[in-house]
Amino acid sequence: MFENLSYETLQAYWWIIIAVLGGALVFLLFVQGGQTLLNKLSGNENEKLILLNLFGHKWETTFTTLVTFGGAFFASFPLFYSTSFGGAYWVWYIILFAFILQAVSYEFRSKMNNLLGKKTYEAFLFFNGFIAPFLLGVVVSTFFTGNYFSVSKERILRVGNNVDAIISRWESPWYGLEALWTTDHLIFLQNIALGLAVFFLARINALLYVKKMVNDKEILARTKKCLKINVILFLIFFLFWLFRLMFINGFAVDPHTAEVYLEKGKYLMNLIEVPLLGVLLLTGIILVLTGIYKAWFTADENAFWYSGAGTFITVFVLFLVAGFNNTAYYPSLYDLQSSLTIRNSSSSKFTLTVMAYVSLMIPIVIAYIAWVWKSLDRHKYTEEKIEKEEIKY
C-alpha cells in the first residue's frame, strides 16, 4: 500500500504524523496546566486529593505522547533529532528533568515515609506544570524564528580530532537557552510569547476539564474565578505571537535548488497559498474560543472538548505551516543553508514506508485510550468517590 507512494509523499505523510503527535501533546498538556492550579482550586487536603486523582489518572497519557513524539521524530526525521536534541541541550534537558519529577510525584506524594514530604512533590508537579508547556512552546516558536546551528555531513570523514567529526553543531554557547534572550528581530519576545500562550492554554484546558469532571461546589466556584485571568493572558500572548508571525521573515526553500532564503510574510503566504491550512487554523482558533465562551457563559460541560479539539487543530496546523509549502521547519540563523527541511532531514524511503505501516496502529491506540477514559470516568470526581477508591494517589 505505502510502497507505491513517492518519497516526497511519504515525507509529507510523516510530517503530518509529527503534526498529529505535536497537536495531541499540546492538548494533553492540560494535565500540566492542572498541576499549576492545585493550590488555587483547592481549600483543603480532600479537595486537593480530588484534583490530584483527576489529573493523576491522565498524566501517563501525556507523558507517553511526549516519548512517542520524540521516538517518531527520531524514526522519521533523524537529522532533527540529532541536531535539536543534541544542540538545544539545556532546553530539552530542563523539559525532561521536569518530566522525571512529575513521573514520581503523583505516586509518591500521598504515601507514608516518602522522604521529601507532600509539599516537595507538589512543588515538583508545579515545576513540571509550568516548565513543560512553557519550554515546549518556546521550542515550537523557534521552528519559525530560527536557531543557531550548522550541519555538515562531510564532517564525519574527519579523522584525527574526533569532535570535528560531529555532523550537527550548535553554534551558541547557551545550547538552546539563547531562544529566551536573542534580541535580534525581537526573537526572544516571540518565543516567550508562545511559551506563555501554551502555558495559559494548558491551564484553560485544565479548568474546563475540572468543570466537566468534578462535582464539588467549592472547586467549581474557584474554577470559574480562575478562568478569566487565564483567558485574558492567553489571548494577549497568543494573538501577539500569531499577529507577528504573519509578518516576520519566514524561511523559504527553493524547490528546484533546495536553497533556503528569507521571505517576508512567508507564513501568512503559506496560509493563503494552501487555503486548507488557513481554514483549519481559523477553525482551531474558533473552537478554542467557543470552548472558552461555553465555559464562561453557559453550563455546557463539553466546553473542554471544544477547546481541546481547537488546541489540537491549531497546533497541528502550525506544524504544517512550519514545514509545508517549501518551508524550512527548523531554520538556522547561523547558516541558512544548514536549515532543516522535510526533504533534507528525513529517513530513507524504505524506513518511512515501514514506519507508515506502523502508523496504522495509531487509530487503534486512540480507540482504546478513548474506551479506557470513558470506562473510568463514568462518574464525576467527588470527595466520596475518592474516599471509596481502594487505590488512589
Binding site: 509518591f108 560531529i166 514506519m355
Partner: protein, 509 residues
Amino acid sequence: MDNINWELVDWSRAQFALTALYHWIFVPLTLGLSFIIAIMETIYYKTGDEKWLKIEKFWLKLFGINFAIGVATGIILEFEFGTNWSNYSWFVGDLFGAPLAIEGIMAFFLESTFMAVLFFGWNKVSKRAHLIAAWLVAIGSNLSALWILVANAWMQNPVGMEFNPDTMRNEMTDFFAVLFNPVAVNKFIHTITSAYTFSALFVIAVSSWLLLRNKNKLYAKYSMLVASIFGFLSILATIITGDGSAKQVAKYQPMKLAAMEGLYQGQKGAPLVAIGVLKDDNDPQPDKDIVGLEIPSMLSILAFNDPNVFVPGIKDLVHGNEEQGIRSYAERIESGKIAIDALAAYKKAKKEGNTEEAEKQLEIFKDHFKDFGYGYYYGKDPHTLIPPVALTFYSFHTMVILGTWFLILFVLVYFSLMNNTIERKKWLLRLAIISFPLGFIAQETGWITAEVGRQPWVIQDLMPAMVAVTKIETSGVMITFFLFFVTFTALLIAEIKIMTSAIKKGFNQ
C-alpha cells in the same frame, strides 16, 4: 591521541551508564511483577477465591511504587541518544529510530493506558475486562523491552542495512532482518527471563521477611509458591539463552568473548573459567592470565559446540593470527582509513562531476566498509581497541555464579513449601532475603558484561563511541550527570522508604 576529547566521551558514557543502570533497577521488577500479578488475577478469576485478590492487590501496590520511578529514568534514556549521542543518531537514525518509535506507539501506550484500568478500574469495568487489562499491561511492558532490545542487538550486530554514501548514513534495507536479528531474539529472551527471575526473587524475599515476622503467613506462602515456580522456569530460560548469547558473542564479537573469559592467548580446546581471578590488573600489556578453576575445552564447546575449535584470544585479535585467518587491528585500521578516504574522494569526484572516478572510489569504499570504524584509530595504538578486561571478566563471572545460585534457591524454596517446612527453615528465609540484592547485582553485571565488553564500539566495527558523541562542553555533561545522579539517588531512597512502609503493613491494608 592528544587531540581526542576523551573527557567529553567519558562523561557522556558515564551519564548513559548511570541512567541505564538506574533504569535497570526498576524495569526488571516491572517486567516480571506485571506477569506475576496477571497470573494471580487469573487464579482469582478462575477460582473466585478472595484470598488471591488480596494477594494480588498487595503486589499491585508495590508494583505501582516501582513503576513510577522506572518511567522517570526511562524518559532520559530515550532522549539521551539525541542529546548526548547526536552523531550516532544521524549515522544510524534511519534504523535505530524505528524501534524506538514503534516502542512508543505499540508498547508504551498499551502499558500506560491499561495500567490505569488495572489500578483504578476495580468495580468500573467487568472482571473479565480487568483481567484482560492486567495481561495487556504485562504484554505492553514486555513489548517495550522487545523493541529497545532489538535496537541494542542491532548495535552489537548491525544487520539489514546498507551505507548510503550520498546521505552519509546507514539506511535500513530489511526490517525483518533487524527484528529477527539472531542476537536480538536471544538477547530479548535472556533479558526478560532474567528480569522475571529478579521479580520472583523480590516476591520471595518480601514473603520471607513477612514469614520471619510471623505476618500474613498464608498469603506469603501462596505468593512464594507462584514466585518459585515462575522463577524456576525463568532462570532455566535465562541459562539456556545465556548459552545462546555466548555463542553469538563468539561469532560476532570475539573480543568481547576473550575479555569475558580473560583469554589472552587463543587456543584450541580453550578452557572455561569456572571461578578465578586475573593475575595482574595493572599490566597494560595483554599477557595476563587466570588463576583459578578451569574446565578444559569447555569454552570451545560452549562457544562453538566443538572441543577442538580454536578460540581467539585478545593477543590474536590485536596482533592477528595468520594461521587462523585473523587480521590484525593494525590491518583493519589501515583498511578503515582507506574506506574513509575513498568516501571523501567519492564525494569530491561527484561534486566535480567525475562519474568514472566516483564509481572507482565507491568500489574501494565498499570493499573496505566493514572496517570503517577502525579508520578513526588511524595513527593510534591498536591496544586502545581492547575493552576493559577486568571489569568485563568479573562482571560476567559474577552474573554466572549468581544465576546458578538462584536456580538452587528456587528449587529449595519450592520443595520446602511443598513439604511445609519453610517456616522452620529460618536460614533459607534469610538466604532468600539476601538473594534479592544479589539478583540486582546479577542484573547489572549482565548489562556491564554486554556493554563494557563491546567497547569501544557503539556500533560493532562501524562507529566507536568517541565519534558518536554530541559536541557540547564537557562541563555541561558533568552538570547533567551530577544532576541525574543526585535526583535518581534521592528518588531511589524515597522509593525504598515508601516500599518498606508498604511491605511492613503487609497484606492487611
